[in-house]
């Protein structure tokens, strides 16, 4: 299973200010940011959680954040999130890829493809 402190690698955004700061920080490097849009009432999101934790551990060069669509509804709307979970990949402040649905293999593929890209 691995050690539980791995969950510290996935930071949940609690405010718009925190999110804006995070987005701004992506412009400082070529680091890949993976946004996980989820809802507390969405079963598929819970099913996906272990996979995301695994990827956060496997790819320490990639940053993972979690956004609750009810807490930060404006951000969810801005990124046109209609179904959950939705993953949006960001580099240098821009969306470079997205995936809708709890699709474990496809998410891994996207991360592998984009983590080192420019």
């Amino acid at each position: 299973m691995g050690n539980r402190s791995s969950t510290a690698k996935i930071v949940e955004m609690h405010s718009l200010a925190q999110w804006n700061e995070k987005l701004a920080s992506t412009k400082q490097s070529n680091k890949l940011l993976v946004m996980d849009f989820s809802a507390t009432w969405c079963g598929p999101c819970k099913w996906m959680e272990p996979a995301i934790e695994e990827y956060a551990n496997t790819y320490p060069d990639v940053e993972f954040i979690k956004i609750d669509v009810d807490t930060l509804a404006d951000v969810a709307r801005e990124y046109k999130v209609e179904a959950m979970p939705t993953f949006v990949l960001i580099k240098k402040g821009k969306e470079i890829a997205r995936l809708t649905g709890a699709k474990k293999s496809e998410l891994r593929n996207l991360i592998e493809r984009h983590r080192n890209s420019n």
């Binding site: 009432w41 969405c42 079963g43 649905g101 496809e106």
Partner: protein, 343 residues
């Protein structure tokens, strides 16, 4: 026909609940079920989640052997193979009760198994299934009916059992929705081959599923739906489509000798009846089967009349028609179609 093989024909269970859905819960009802509880239910049935997606209306799971849909007040599970679907009833009722929800209606339907002898308890016969359900639902669901709807083809009949605590005049048509369940056998071999993994490809799971969805045109059946798909190794395919509060689902067993595909979707009495016919035609065209059966639950006369002619352009003629009324479900119509060139 092969001596033995994978059983494509599904068993389908739909459970409706009622209870005090607190305003604070945002009317979430069954969606408040812990995922661990759902896993326990699926363990009893012997299947697992392989892909999933949720929207504001419901959660949709693609399972190792079909699909699960969780709405606030209803759960639909459809499983194929040799799963023991009815074993989901006791734990589901138990977990729902913990949420203050009580069973209102139970509906169980299935076609004919291609390999009936391979089925485990309690699915060895319809009689055994009915006895099992009756032993596991509350006695206040006192309006009950079990029936086998026939066709002219011995291999195709439609088994239905419904039970409800709602008295006849109170059967709700809260959203005037109807369900359509399509079963296809003897799929066109060339088209069925698209549901086999390409050798050496290694693309299974959600990646392989996406390719199959696009290659076969399944994504054009309802372009507005979001699709969650999955390709099985070495062959087989499943998908759930979500569009607002409506689901659709397709499952394919492509092997020659026992090939099978199912398509299920939801319609509304407020839809244009031609829409459902267009959808069904598109779905059948993906597979071009030799035999199709269509069961509609709760739709208008106009819809099932149109369905009778829906596949004529595809060379499929309606061969049988059966209609019956069931508690809570309303009118169920069962029609079968075979190639026009066959007698």
């Amino acid at each position: 026909m092969a001596v033995s093989g994978f059983e494509g024909f599904e068993k389908r269970l739909e459970l409706h609940f009622f209870g005090d859905i607190d305003e604070d819960d945002n009317m979430l009802g069954l969606r408040l079920l812990e995922f661990e509880s759902l896993e326990q239910v699926l363990f009893a049935v012997q299947c697992t989640v392989v892909s999933a997606v949720g929207n504001p209306f419901f959660d949709a799971y693609v399972l190792s052997e079909s699909s699960l849909f969780v709405y606030p007040t209803k759960i639909i599970i459809k499983t194929c193979g040799t799963t023991q679907l009815l074993k989901s009833i006791p734990p589901l009722i138990h977990f729902a009760n913990n949420l203050g929800l009580h069973l209102q209606t139970c509906r169980y339907t299935r076609g004919n198994f291609i390999f009936p002898k391979a089925q485990p308890f309690p699915h060895t016969s319809f009689k055994e299934e009915v006895v099992y359900i009756e032993q596991n639902i509350p006695i206040n669901l006192c309006y009950r009916k079990a029936s086998v709807m026939p066709s002219k083809l011995p291999a195709h009949s439609w088994h239905v059992f419904t039970a409800t605590c709602l008295p006849p005049l109170e059967f709700p048509h809260e959203d005037a929705a109807f369900t359509v369940e399509v079963c296809m056998t003897e799929l066109n071999r060339h088209l069925a081959r698209q549901f086999f993994m390409k050798s050496g490809d290694g693309k299974t799971g959600d990646i392989g599923g996406k390719e199959m969805t696009e290659l076969t045109g399944i994504d054009t059946i309802n372009p507005g739906a979001f699709i969650c798909d999955f390709a099985f190794d070495p062959c087989g395919y499943s998908m759930n489509g979500i569009d607002g509060d409506r689901y659709s689902t397709i499952h394919v067993t492509p092997e020659d000798g026992f090939s099978y595909a199912s398509f299920e979707c939801v319609g509304s009495v407020y839809d244009d009846p031609d829409d459902i016919v267009v959808t069904l035609k598109k779905a059948v065209q993906v597979f071009m089967p030799e035999t199709v059966s269509v069961s509609t639950t709760g739709c208008s006369r106009e819809v099932w009349t149109k369905v009778a002619h829906a596949f004529e352009p595809l060379g499929l003629k309606c061969r049988s028609f059966a209609m019956d009324e069931f508690p809570a479900a309303g009118t169920i119509v069962f029609q079968t179609f075979t190639a026009a060139r066959r007698k």
